[in-house]
Each structure stands twice: as structure tokens, then as C-alpha cells.
């Protein structure tokens, strides 16, 4: 009774948040509900909003018929290396491009960025030929080595972040006699935590969801990732039974780890404020 009324602005925020959340939840809800439908009910028209009957067997049968754990393992390998490689190469290069002055810096940066502008369709063949000559086709190497050798998009992003961090912090450390590696590790990296979190999340997603690259290089069933498995289940092939229900179940299984991870990564943002607030 005595509580003060919620301010109008805040109430608007809530309405927008809840309404938006419902909209955003929609594809996800559809995914889960489809994964629990019988094959026949997936196509019932008008759409069945709630699966009836709920068919949990879609999941048990999926795990029995599709090597989900193997696919998960393969996907994990690619993801882990991607994250480590991307964060390693992009944070170093991003810092260097943003804060260090040396001859050739902007030229290298421009070339790096320019390589992103060439459509993948024409570099696909030369890259494939190269990896094939190295004997890397049919292994994870073409997917896990390149991130260690630079990630132009993330580098660009981190460069932009590093450029906004106040100069005074770095200057003060330099006067105290700190070298570049120490400044990078002890001052810049902690300050860039939100940006590093973003880089991590993005490279997790890239590794977890990437489709075209694994499709091209992982030609053995035992090397397939979850994304390839999902595609394989959803294909229309002559003479092949419809497995849309399995496909949706696998997609649900595949979405869960990143969702949990993302939810936990939220904390980094909260901490981010505290740190920048204190030091800024």
C-alpha cells in the first residue's frame, strides 16, 4: 500500500520488455513445441499451438538413432578451439591496432579488413585446394587453425573498443614503468571485459552453429557437427522418410548449451560496469 507507484518511464520499459520478449520467444517456442509433436501433427492446419499428444519419444528415438553425443563432441572441439584462437589473436591485434603507434599499422589493418569484403564464394575453391594439398580436408584443422591466425571482424571490433578506453589509465601505468605486455594484460584486458565477453559469445556461436565450413571440410559422418546433423535430418531426399520431428528435437538439444552459457555470461556485463566505474 505504501509502496511508491512505479514511475511511468519504468512501466513503459517493462511493457516493451515483456511484449518484445514474447515476440522473441516465439521462434523458440515453435521449435520446442514442434520437437514434441507427432510427425503428422507437425503439419496439421491450422497450426497446433500446443502439441497434443506430447511425444517425448522424439527425444529418446533421436538419441537412439542419431549419434548425438558424437556430433556434440565434434561441435565442442571446433567451438573450444575457435574461442581460444579468436580471443587470443583478436585481442592482441585489436589492442595493437588501437593503441600502439608503429609504421605499417594502418596498412595492415586495411588489408585485413579488406579480406572480409571478398565474397566467400570465390575464395572457397582456392582455400579448399590449399587445405586439400595440406591433407587437412576430412579433419578439423581447416576449422580450428585459422582462428589462431587472426579473426578480422573481431579484431576490428576490439580495436574500436580499445580506442574508447581513456588514455590517462595507460599513461599513468607507463609512467610507473609498466611495459606494453603488462599494460595489455593488467589494464586493458580487464577494462575490455564486456567486449571480450562479446567476442567470446560470438566465437562460441560461430563454432557451435557454423554450417558451410563444416559442410565443406567434414566429409565423414563421424566428423559431422550438430548443425550438419540437423541439416541431414531435415533434408528432403527421394525415398527417404520424413524426420522433421527428429530435426526439431535435435535443434532444441543444440540450442540449450548456448542459451545456458549466454545466461551465465550476463554476469560479465554486471562486473564490467563496476570495474569501469571504479577506474574511470
Amino acid at each position: 500500500m505504501t509502496r511508491p507507484p512505479i514511475p511511468f518511464g519504468r512501466m513503459l520499459s517493462y511493457i516493451a520488455l515483456i511484449g518484445g520478449s514474447l515476440l522473441m520467444l516465439m521462434p523458440f517456442y515453435w521449435l520446442i513445441s514442434t520437437s514434441l509433436k507427432t510427425l503428422k501433427n507437425i503439419y496439421v492446419y491450422p497450426v497446433q499451438w500446443f502439441p497434443n499428444p506430447i511425444r517425448w519419444q522424439n527425444y529418446t528415438e533421436l538419441f537412439a538413432e542419431v549419434p548425438v553425443l558424437l556430433y556434440t563432441r565434434n561441435t565442442l572441439i571446433i567451438t573450444v578451439f575457435n574461442v581460444i584462437g579468436t580471443v587470443f589473436s583478436a585481442s592482441l591485434a585489436g589492442y595493437s591496432f588501437a593503441r600502439l603507434r608503429f609504421r605499417g599499422r594502418d596498412l595492415v589493418f586495411s588489408i585485413l579488413l579488406a579480406t572480409v569484403m571478398v565474397p566467400f564464394a570465390v575464395t572457397m575453391i582456392p582455400l579448399y585446394v590449399m587445405f586439400s594439398k595440406l591433407g587437412w580436408v576430412g579433419t578439423f584443422l581447416p576449422l580450428i587453425v585459422p582462428p589462431f591466425l587472426g579473426a578480422p571482424v573481431n579484431t576490428f571490433m576490439l580495436r574500436q573498443f580499445f580506442r574508447t578506453i581513456p588514455m590517462e589509465l595507460e599513461d599513468a601505468a607507463r609512467i610507473d614503468g609498466a611495459g606494453r605486455p603488462r599494460i595489455f594484460l593488467q589494464i586493458m584486458l580487464p577494462l575490455a571485459k564486456p567486449a571480450l565477453t562479446v567476442t567470446t559469445i560470438q566465437s562460441v556461436l560461430w563454432g557451435w552453429n557454423s554450417f558451410l565450413q563444416p559442410l565443406i571440410y567434414l566429409r565423414k559422418n563421424r566428423l559431422w557437427t550438430l548443425a550438419l546433423g540437423i541439416n541431414s535430418l531435415g533434408m528432403f531426399m527421394p525415398g527417404v522418410p520424413d524426420t522433421t520431428h527428429f530435426q526439431m528435437a535435435l535443434a532444441t538439444v543444440m540450442v540449450l548449451p548456448p542459451v545456458i552459457l549466454y545466461f551465465m555470461a550476463q554476469r560479465a556485463f554486471v562486473q564490467g560496469i563496476v570495474l569501469t566505474g571504479l577506474k574511470g
Binding site: L39, K40, I42, Y43, V44, Y45, P46, V66, M124, I125, Y128, V129, S132, K133, V137, G138, L215, I216, R219, K220, N221, W224, L228, G229, N231, S232, L233, M235, F236, M237, P238, G239, V240, P241, D242, T243
Partner: protein
Amino acid sequence: MSEKRITRRQLMRLSAAAITGLVAAACAPRVVEKVVKETVIVGGTPQVVEKVVKETVIVAGTPQVVEKVVKETVVVTGKGPITLNFFNRGGEYIAGVMDSEIELYQESHPEISFEINAVADYSHQEALLMMIAAGTGPDCWFDANRTTGMLTRKGVTMDLEPFLEVDPNFNEDDYINNCWIAQTYDGKRWGLPWDSGAMCMAFNTDLFDQAGIDYPDPQTWMKWDEIVELAKQLTFDMDDNTPNDSGFAPARVKQYGLQPNRDHGRQTYIWANDAELIESDGSMPMDSDKFIEAMNWLADLGLKHYVSPTPAFQAATEMGIQQGNIAMEHIGVWNLGRINAVDIKWGTFQVPYNTSKASYGHYSPLCVFSKTKYPQEAYDFVFFATCSYDGEKILVDLGMQQPIRKDLREQFLSNPEPPEQKYRQVFYDAFENQQTFRWPGDKVGSYYGGWYQILLEFWGPYLDRLWLGEVRWEDVAKEVREGSEEILRTGEIS
């Protein structure tokens, strides 16, 4: 390349007698390996040597195998134990099917091992091309009817006629008529049919029962007007009005009466109206009155009669007989497994016609790479997987395919899965009836003139506008004809 092949064939024939002798001589199976090594060193031409290896190994088997050996001596080349690189499109299911075929093949050919590359995607062509670009092209692969002609024109596939000609296991009479069409270019076969078969109309018996309508007779060919009238009684909007009722809402349809196949099956309607797609002189009279009439009729099913889903009105996302929202659908035998997966009771009848009865069907092939190091081994496996009794039986047992071997026909017809035998017979009636069966390009001896995929991409936008009701066929017919003839001549889409 072709020169090399001729030499090889001569060698095969020359050496046939000698090998038979060797085979007879090599009665002790365990000595085989020694013999192999010696001959490898001595042999000036590897082809001859390889044959000795293979045959002796097989001789070590039962008397029954010996008989096989005699047949195969003529055709076999290869280097001792060899690895065939097989490239598979399709997902896990197809991969599994291929695995069981390979396993069975290796029982009789233990010297052949397989390296399998598999892409889980609709478009396999880019993966294939990249492998070729890197010099690691597969020895054989699972192709699609859309792409074989084009790959053949570009020299990727191998002409299989010379192999079939000398293959004692191959007898043209063992196979149903017309099964080779989608792999035919310039009158020759560039792949062997692996899946699927004929196209016809399928109908959902439950939806007929609900509407209180008698089932169509599998032996009777319906006319266009008849099927439109029938379809009107099987089309319902959300308020259960049919197109015959005044309050019918075409954008709120929950069940359609008829789904013609506007994709691989489209040509059937053109022939059914006595129009032609590709003439023997390579012209494509797509602007003839008959052609225009057929195309507009197809469009009108959705736009005027409201009995077919069309992008202009279609409300539901997935439409089909197995989705339970189409009463009669023009399907291929490749839909069989999908329909049965949702437990629908269904039957079949022939595709309706206007002035001439027409039927169609096709298979997607396994092909052999023109630059393979092991043409004979690759061919042998492809032949086993597609045309041999044992190989094809695997596909038939899975219900994947309408068998091309006549001796497996009974097994397909008596399969207890729906539809009933009399309906299953419809697939054969469509395929084997020389009076009605047509295929695009039959007058020039090349399936779609070799350019199916490009033609599809060229036609797509025009067809989209036709189905939407933005144009009538006569508005674009001349343009489409010119563009299509240009593609047929040059392969250039523009």
C-alpha cells in the same frame, strides 16, 4: 582419355582367354599373393596384371564364385587392393543405405575398400567441383537428375556404354523400359539409376471418405475437366465451403483438392495437351497455343478454380498428401516413404490428360568420374549398387525405390505397406507404357538437352509470376522460348 579406354578394352578382350587359363591354374588360393607380386614386376601394362590379382583372389571361393569369375575376367582391371573414393550426397539415411550396399559388395570384392565422402546438403555439385579442383575427385558418386546432363556436357561423368556393352552381367531385357532416361545424353548412358521411379497421382482415401466420394479407379485415366470438378468437391475453406459455394474464401483454405507437380512433373501436362517442350531440331516451342493452354490451365487450378495451392492465396505452410491437407497430389515414387511415415491410407491413379495420355518418371544416378584411376572398379561397384539383383534388393527392401530390375518387380508390388498392389501397379503402368511415357529431350536423345538445372533456374522467376497470376503464359512465352533455346544452344543463362 578415350584413346586410353579403347586400348584397355582391346587388352581386356585379348587377355580374356589368358586370364581364364591363369584362373584355372591358380587353384591353390593361398599362393595367390606371390603370383600377384611377380606379375606386377613383369607386367608392362598394369591393366593386365591387375586382372590376374583380382581373379585369383576370387577363385579362392566356392564353385559358385568361380562362375562369376569367368564373367568378370573380361571386365576387371585394378591394382591389387584398391580404394574407391565414393562421394555421397544426402543425409544420414542415404549414408546408411550406401554403407549396407558397400558392405555386401565387399563380401564378394574383399580387395576393394572404400573411402566415403558425404555432404549433408541439397546441392552436392559445388562439393564435387571443389574435390575435382583439388585433384581429389571421387571415383564415383551419387548424382541428381538435375545435374547429370550438365556434368556430362562438361566432361565430368564417364560414358558407361562401353562398360555395359562388355559386361556379361548386363542384359537390357532385365530392366524396365525407360529407366535410363535421366542419365541419357546424346543417346548414351552417363550414370546408372539408383533411386527413385515413376510419377503419378496419389489420393488420400480418408479425405475421399470424409467428402463421401468414390475412389478414383487406378486403371482409368481422368480428363482435365473431370479432375477439376472432382477437386472442387475436395477443397474446403475454414468454414467448410467448397469453390462451388458462393461464400468460398480462397485465401482461407484448409484443404485443397489437387496439387499438380509443378516441378519435375510439369512437362506431363504439356504433353497431355499435345504440346512439345524440346523438338527434334532443338527448338523449344514454348509459345505454341497448346503449350500456352497447358501452362495457363495449371495456373488456373489455383487462380480460377481455387482447387490448388498457389502462392497467391496459399495459407498453410506445408501442403501435401502426407500433411493431410491435399486430397490428390501428383507425386513421385520417392514420396512413398514419406507418405507412409504418417500412416495415411492412400491410392494412386494416372496423371490426368486433356488430349493425349502422358506419363513420366526418373531416377537419380550413381556416376563414374571421367578421370578416375579405376574406371572398371568404379563401374563395377556402381553397376552392383544400381543394377544387380543383390544391390538393388537392398533399396527395394527399404521401400526406397521402384526397382528397375524386372525380377524385383513382384517384390515391390506385393509390399504390404500402402498403397495396395493395384495402386502400386500404377507406377509400372506409368513407366512401362511406351504409348504414354515421355521424357523431356526424348526427341534429341538428351535429358533436358543436358541443361536441366540451368533451365530450372531460368524458368523459376517466370513460373513464380505465372502461379501468382501476375502474368499469363502468352505474356512471357516468347521470351521464355528464346531464353530456353539460347540455353540449349550455349548453356548461357542471361
